[in-house]
């Protein structure tokens, strides 16, 4: 009998089965359900529509304010008031509101609300991030979230698994983001990854810290996959120490597990990578877009707003000054990230270099909060999407890349290969 992949094992364990097959539809028990300010009130309204007064477990419904805080206008302020009212009405234990906030996916991992071998869902597409700790993380709509909040259950289709084996060493200025974009450029949205489980493995993944793992799993939704996952190891255990008091039992893929496809990637072929406007799969090596001028630089989001991202930027910008024509906005992914980056001096370095730091939130990423793009803007962003209008104006262009490329490029006001900087 063939073995099972880590994703299949997680679904089997949490649906009370010994094994599952790709294509099967099963009901699973979820460990946690996340909802946030933007869709949370709708989710709770759906819960009431089910005729249910209380959530299945007040400790396991996680509520986060991230898209709308602090409110830049009356509409958002009013939405937030309604959101806070329903969260309090349900006496939710873990409510991360302004002052204790962060981008929901960062909060879910950072505060230990996702655990190896379990399933967590959320009403925001980048819930795939949870795969970084060896959990199955899935984005759902408000109906699915309401059903899970009422019952602790969610239906899932067991995905086919696709494995990427990544070998080689990381160049200091090549990041997990570059690998994500490289995979996007390699695969496109032609059906090979749609609805699949993407498993990242190999020596290069074993060397990768939790921040890079979160970036890789986060972007799998943008590749069209159901989930992204990295098997838990000593880095995972160390990361989770002190973040959770729950016991957990990690799972690994069997050596004879079945994959629809296995791809090998040699990291020596992956350099700094850029997705051109307006398609995420229009991916090129940085060399092909070097010299293109831009006027806005943005680093933050659930993809690249972590301490390690700020660290590499601080290293590049230390003692230097960004180009006068560039507006640079940096948004740490959570209050904890903000504080740590402050204590380590990275924020001082970045501000001295001429960057502006904003309060942790989703910021300009979805085009609805701080730092949106206007007509004619050319944005160099370390976010996750670059479709037309994503960050605001349809007359803006977004180049998507890593924090290292954004930092190096900000010095010159044009796209620059960070490997060419004199140290």
């Amino acid at each position: 009998m063939p073995g099972m992949t880590i994703t299949e094992k997680i679904i089997a364990r949490n649906s009370g089965r010994r094994r599952v097959m790709p294509g099967e539809l099963v009901w699973v028990n979820v460990h946690t359900v996340m909802t946030m300010d933007y869709l949370g009130a709708q989710t709770f309204a759906k819960l009431h529509e089910l005729g249910v007064k209380d959530v299945f477990d007040r400790d396991r419904v996680i509520c986060v304010s991230d898209h709308l805080v602090p409110p830049p206008n009356e509409k958002f302020a009013t939405l937030l008031n309604e959101w806070r009212r329903v969260v309090r009405e349900h006496r939710i234990t873990h409510f991360y509101d302004l002052g204790n906030q962060g981008i929901a996916h960062q909060i879910m991992v950072e505060k230990g609300h996702v655990l190896p071998g379990t399933i967590s869902i959320g009403t925001d597409s980048h819930a795939n991030t949870y795969g970084a700790v060896g959990a199955l993380g899935n984005a759902v709509g408000v109906t699915d979230a309401a059903v899970a909040m009422a019952t602790g259950k969610c239906w899932l289709r067991v995905p086919e698994s696709v494995k990427f084996v990544v070998r080689g060493q990381w160049h200091p200025y090549v990041m997990a983001k570059d690998l994500s974009l490289y995979v996007m450029g390699m695969m496109h949205w032609n059906g090979h990854l749609i609805y699949k489980a993407i498993e990242y493995t190999g020596e290069a993944i074993s060397q990768l810290g939790m921040a890079g793992r979160m970036t890789l799993c986060n972007m799998t939704v943008d590749l069209g996959a159901k989930n992204g996952i990295i098997a838990p190891d000593s880095i995972t255990r160390k990361y989770l120490r002190g973040r959770t008091s729950h016991k957990y039992a990690p799972l690994q893929s069997d050596p004879n597990a079945r994959y629809e496809q296995v791809y090998e990637i040699d990291l020596s072929k992956v350099g700094p990578t850029v997705a051109r406007p307006h398609r995420l799969d229009d991916v090129v090596p940085v060399e092909e877009v070097e010299g293109i001028p831009f006027n806005k630089a943005f680093v933050g989001t659930c993809t690249n707003g972590r301490v390690e991202d700020l660290e590499i930027m601080a290293r590049i910008l230390k003692g230097k000054r960004i180009h006068p024509d560039v507006n640079m906005l940096i948004v740490p992914a959570s209050q904890a990230v903000y504080l740590e980056a402050m204590k380590k001096g990275y924020l001082t370095t970045l501000v001295e270099a001429g960057a502006a730091i904003d309060t942790p939130s989703c910021a300009a990423c979805a085009g609805i909060h701080t730092g949106v793009a206007g007509d004619g803007d050319i944005v160099l962003s370390a976010g996750n999407r670059n479709m037309q209008g994503r960050m605001g104006s349809k007359k803006a262009e977004i180049y998507l890349t890593s924090p290292a490329v954004v930092a190096a490029s900000a010095l010159y006001g044009k796209i620059t290969d960070p490997r060419k900087l004199s140290s």
């Binding site: 649906s15 539809l25 984005a139 709509g141 109906t143 949205w189 939704v221 943008d222 069209g224």
Partner: protein
């Protein structure tokens, strides 16, 4: 059952972002309301009130990753339903909207290469039992992937909300596995 009607064929990649554009993401989820501006970002001709809905299409035919881009908003599905769409046939669907479609009972039917054999305005006939889709305008026929029993069960209940409500009332939630 056989359903017959006119199809709209996607000229390229259709994103959820363009089916429901950003100003309507926080609108109430309501088929009538969401149908007024559905597809507004997909083509200039639809970018007016009831621009798509007034065309009277019954089916959408598309290529890969229909409704992709990663938006979870359910207005995408209710908008299409409100516009009179009875099924979408495509090479593949974005996962989030595939779920939403099942949860609302709008058939998202996987059908390889159908996009190559249809033009906007063609009359299609879909046999919901056999999965056979016939293009009555040009005589082409396509075999789609059959719908899983669970999907049919949810559609029959009138969507996941009703399906779950009934089970809560019966006390049979624990039986779901």
């Amino acid at each position: 059952m056989k359903i017959t009607g006119k199809c709209w064929v996607a000229p390229g990649y259709v994103m959820a972002y363009d089916i429901i554009t950003q100003p309507f993401w926080t609108s109430p989820i309501d088929p009538k309301e969401n149908a007024r501006w559905v597809m507004a970002g997909v083509a200039e001709e639809f970018n007016r009130e009831n621009g798509f809905t007034s065309q009277g299409y019954t089916f959408i035919v598309a290529g890969h990753n229909f409704a992709g881009g990663g938006k979870s908003i359910e207005h995408v599905i209710t908008g299409l339903m409100g516009a009179g769409i009875r099924a979408v046939f495509a090479d593949s669907f974005s996962r989030l909207q595939f779920r939403n479609a099942i949860n609302y009972g709008l058939p998202f039917i996987t059908c390889k290469d159908i996009v190559k054999g249809c033009q906007t305005g063609d009359q299609l006939e879909w046999d919901t039992e056999t999965g056979l889709i016939r293009n009555l305008t040009n005589g082409n026929a396509f075999q789609s992937v059959p719908v899983a029993p669970f999907v049919a069960e949810v559609a029959e209940a009138g969507g996941l909300m009703n399906f779950i409500k009934k089970r809560i009332a019966e006390g049979t939630i624990g039986d779901l596995r």
